[in-house]
């Protein structure tokens, strides 16, 4: 499912289509995990493909990558890179600040750089992410709190 090439401080993940959790579609294609003294950084990329599910409807005559799928991209990147803790996947606890600054269109390559904060005693961690387009324009900035927690059911 995931091809992984390990090095002492860097790991590459190539993401294929069979995600093992509900998701609109694969919103990240490649993840590079860089672990150094300053902390953990994830570099993720995705090329916007107009044939991905949901995009035909956003919008019917003009395809714009929905901003929420940038959130999804971050969520998938964090989940695939960090994996489970005691059998639980990381979940979004709070979208502290999410700002969409420029649109993404089919053919654009989105590059996300996410800094992962330390795990707290409550099993939460902060993620600070920036998302750029291939022409260098900043597309989004996200500050998200994640948690590994029990699922609250309906």
């Amino acid at each position: 499912m995931i091809a992984s090439v390990g090095r002492e401080d860097m790991e590459d993940i190539i993401v294929n289509d069979s995600l093992r959790f509900a998701a609109p579609f694969r919103c990240v294609e490649h993840i590079r995990i860089v672990n150094c003294e300053d902390g953990l950084t994830l570099h993720a990329t995705k090329v916007i493909d107009p044939t991905d599910p949901y995009l035909s409807g956003h919008f019917p005559d003009l395809t714009i990558f929905p901003g929420v799928f940038i959130i999804e991209s971050l969520c998938q990147t964090v989940t695939l890179a960090l994996g489970e803790l005691e059998g639980l996947l990381p979940q979004i606890a709070t979208l502290r600040s999410v700002r969409f600054l420029a649109p993404l269109f089919p053919g654009n390559r989105m590059t996300m750089r996410a800094t992962i904060g330390p795990l707290s005693v409550k099993k939460t961690f902060e993620v600070d992410a920036q998302c750029q387009r291939n022409d260098g324009v900043m597309v989004a900035r996200l500050k998200v709190k994640f948690r590994y927690g029990e699922i609250a059911r309906a």
Partner: protein, 81 residues
């Protein structure tokens, strides 16, 4: 002047995601704090709601520093100069 200014500083700090101490009176939101145009709109909205005033969108270019925001309040909310 100082209480209103400090309240504004707190609002600006929250929107810019900085500490109030980091917001200088004449610090330019864009140049010094990396704010985008959306931040100015958020600041305007929060001030409108908190002080129940109405500030026209055309004032936004004049709201780029803490002191200039205060200045807008003297004109629209009758604050002391």
């Amino acid at each position: 002047m100082s209480q209103g200014l400090e309240e504004l500083r707190k609002i600006v700090a929250e929107v810019l995601e900085l500490e109030p101490e980091e917001i200088a009176d004449t610090g330019d939101f864009v140049e010094e704090y990396g704010a985008d145009s959306m931040r100015a709109i958020e600041i305007l909205s929060r001030i409108e709601k908190k002080y129940r005033v109405e500030i026209p969108q055309k004032e936004l270019p004049q709201m780029q520093t803490l002191l200039s925001v205060y200045n807008v309040m003297t004109r629209y909310a009758g604050w002391q100069e």
